[in-house]
């Protein structure tokens, strides 16, 4: 795949504060890349660097094979959509869409054609004569996407575009953005702190923390094979259960934690084999089983239910087992009540092992 955007050794510092640390990133043509992380991780900063809104300290940025490291934002062939929409409030939607084009000196006919085309794609034709104040949140964001669209850019940058919307609209627009990407096949970089958005939209997700990319992978890999404990903890809700303990290597490697000893048969070690070392074992609540299934699971433990959260489709239960507290996701029809003593189990193949100090995947 040809790289649409490539970032080489990019660093950004404000004085002594290093905000982005020697980042390298290749985004393929037509790829949908999501930058995901909690606030302050540098994801929006990275996006602003790509857009040229922040001057970088070191490194290079290429867009469409062109070195744009020093190029003005408007000369980078990008369109950008902001969290606050950033529509020009005293212009109509049509005015917002065409202002940049007019300024670039495009012929009137072409401006009109582009605006009409964008309006059609986004289904905002009836809104073209309205001002932003007369639009709903979802309509505003559509108009803002339209402003990026008319630029005929190869690359679209989204800076938390859905964060100001309510849950229902967010879900709707998420689907629309995905459809838009399927229709246009532009390269898109999308910043969010919402893991659902990241998982549903992305071809690949880059999880960021402290100005670095911790893992860059498909949603499937990130969910199933998180590269380190932070990623494992960040993705998934409720979060992964962790056991503090140590690995004992050998013919039949085992994981010892307080009160239990789990066989690790079936776990796919990165290095191919187990090494004795202190470690964390993580298992997602949805990868744990209960009842009859648990009886057949390779790893079993008993626990007392102390909290039940019925969600309808599933039921979440929190149990204590010795010194451990575990979340388990059960079928929505499961009948479980506080104080019940139940058996839960899981398969080491579904588990995740992280080295104790580096917290990297084993």
């Amino acid at each position: 795949m040809q790289a649409s955007i490539s970032i080489k050794n990019l660093s950004l510092s404000f004085g002594a504060l290093k905000v982005l640390k020697d980042l390298n990133l290749e985004v393929g043509q037509g790829e949908f890349l999501v930058l995901l992380g909690s606030s302050g991780c540098g994801k929006s900063t990275l996006l602003n660097c790509i857009a040229g809104l922040l001057d970088i300290t070191e490194g290079q940025i290429f867009i469409g094979g062109r070195n744009v490291t020093w190029a003005e934002p408007s000369k980078r062939g990008i369109g950008m959509v902001f969290q606050s929409y950033a529509l020009y409030p005293q212009m109509t939607v049509a005015g917002n869409l065409s202002f940049g084009l007019k300024n670039a000196g495009l012929p009137k006919a072409e401006i009109k054609e582009r605006v009409d085309r964008a309006a059609k794609v986004l289904q905002i034709e009836p809104l073209l004569d309205r001002k932003p104040a007369a639009l709903s949140g979802g309509q505003r964001q559509r108009a803002a996407i339209g402003r990026a669209l008319v630029r005929d850019a190869d690359v679209f940058l989204f800076d938390e575009p859905l964060s100001n919307l309510d849950a229902k609209l967010r879900a709707d627009l998420r689907v629309e953005i995905k459809q838009l990407h399927q229709k246009l096949r532009n390269t898109m970089i999308y910043v969010t702190h919402d893991q659902i958005e990241a998982m549903t939209l992305a071809d690949r997700i880059a999880i960021m923390r402290g100005g670095q990319i911790l893992q860059l992978d498909t949603p499937h890999e990130i969910y199933n094979r998180p590269a380190n404990k932070y990623v494992a903890d960040f993705i998934g809700s409720p979060t992964m259960n962790f056991f503090d303990g140590k690995i004992e290597s050998g013919e039949d490697p085992r994981f010892h934690t307080e009160g239990h000893s789990f066989p690790l048969h079936g776990y796919n070690f990165r290095s191919g084999a187990a090494v004795s070392a202190p470690a964390w074992l993580g298992i997602r609540p949805e990868h744990m089983v209960s009842g009859a299934e648990a009886e057949n699971a390779p790893i079993r433990m008993d626990g007392v239910v102390e909290l039940v959260e019925p969600l309808g489709s599933d039921t979440l239960a929190r149990l204590t087992s010795g010194s451990h507290t575990l979340w388990i996701r059960m079928d929505g029809q499961a009948e479980v009540a506080n104080g019940d003593r139940i058996t839960v189990g899981f398969d080491a193949a579904r588990a995740n092992l992280f080295e104790k100090t580096s917290e990297n995947r084993l």
């Binding site: 393929g28 001057d55 070195n67 020093w70 990319i213 860059l216």
Partner: protein, 304 residues
């Protein structure tokens, strides 16, 4: 694909790193040049006042007002403070200074005390009509003082307070009320209502909530109000000249009488020393308070 992250790519040709920007770019020269010129213009009057006040009269007569003093003398300052004549008396600005202090202290305390309680009542204890009275108060802030001057003269005269300090203190309290009440009302409205409700559930009443919760939480806004009032009252001229007698005139009135008195030879160095002395109190407050001053005028500007 995911491994692309791990392998550092060799730097390619072309621009790399920080965008080259000259410190002396045209843009920077324009911005800083303009700001420095404007700043010099703004500082010029202060500079001229200071140098003039440090020169002797012979030097002023032959020299240039922008030139620094050849021979520094503090005599004009001494004279401005203690000996300058207003046409009525010759004890300098010191009398006006102490009058201003005597006016300032009770006015600031009384106006802030009343306005903060008003603002608190308006924010947390609304009663029927309270918003109407507040609206009248705010609209009243736009009425030219000249319209209300004389009725107040009559009221003060009837109360036997006309010409005295008490009357002037009341006038300052009245005319400071709109802006201060607005300031406190907006601030107290921003205090979480839960806190107020919780205190009420605990059985606290109007005054105990005010003194035990609101005041301790609101010290910054009290400081802003104080800055606003100290500068405003110190700089007042109109009310001072109308509502006090000559021997109680505040410093601004005294200053104007000294400088614009038609008797005797004009002593520009003394005049300038007197002018600086009068401006010293608000200037000190201004330079010490920094951002709070800006916050005060911004709060005032919200309504005018």
């Amino acid at each position: 694909m995911s491994d692309a992250l791990q392998i550092p790519t060799p730097p390619a040709a072309g621009p790399s790193g920080r965008k080259p920007g000259k410190i002396l770019s045209r843009r920077n020269i324009f911005i800083y040049g303009t700001l420095i010129l404007v700043s010099l213009y703004y500082l010029l009057p202060l500079y001229v006042m200071v140098v003039t006040s440090l020169k002797g009269m012979p030097e002023i007569r032959v020299g240039n007002i922008f030139a620094p003093p050849v021979e520094i003398t503090f005599q004009p300052w001494v004279k401005a403070w203690a000996e300058a004549c207003t046409g009525l008396n010759c004890d300098g600005l010191s009398r006006g200074f102490f009058n201003s202090v005597k006016i300032l202290v009770p006015s600031v305390i009384l106006s802030i005390a009343i306005a903060s309680v008003n603002g608190y009542a308006l924010a947390n204890w609304r009663f029927k009509g309270s918003e109407t009275f507040f609206a009248i108060l705010i609209v009243g802030a736009f009425i030219p003082y000249q319209v209300m001057i004389y009725p107040i003269v009559i009221l003060l005269r009837e109360a036997g307070l006309y010409g005295g300090l008490t009357g002037l203190v009341i006038v300052h309290t009245i005319f400071g009320m709109p802006i201060l009440t607005l300031l406190f009302r907006n601030y107290f409205s921003s205090v979480p209502q839960e806190l107020f409700k919780a205190a009420r559930v605990d059985g606290a009443g109007f005054w105990s909530i005010y003194f035990r919760i609101m005041v301790p939480m609101s010290l910054p806004i009290f400081v802003v109000a104080m800055i606003l009032q100290v500068t405003g009252i110190w700089n007042d001229f109109l009310f001072g000249v109308i509502y006090t007698k000559p021997d109680l005139y505040p410093m601004t009135v005294q200053l104007n009488n000294i400088v614009n008195s038609t008797q005797g030879v004009k002593e520009y160095n003394v005049n300038m020393a007197a002018t600086i002395l009068t401006g010293l109190v608000p200037l000190t407050i201004y330079f010490l308070s920094g951002k709070l001053f800006v916050r005060g005028i911004a709060a005032g500007a919200v309504k005018g």
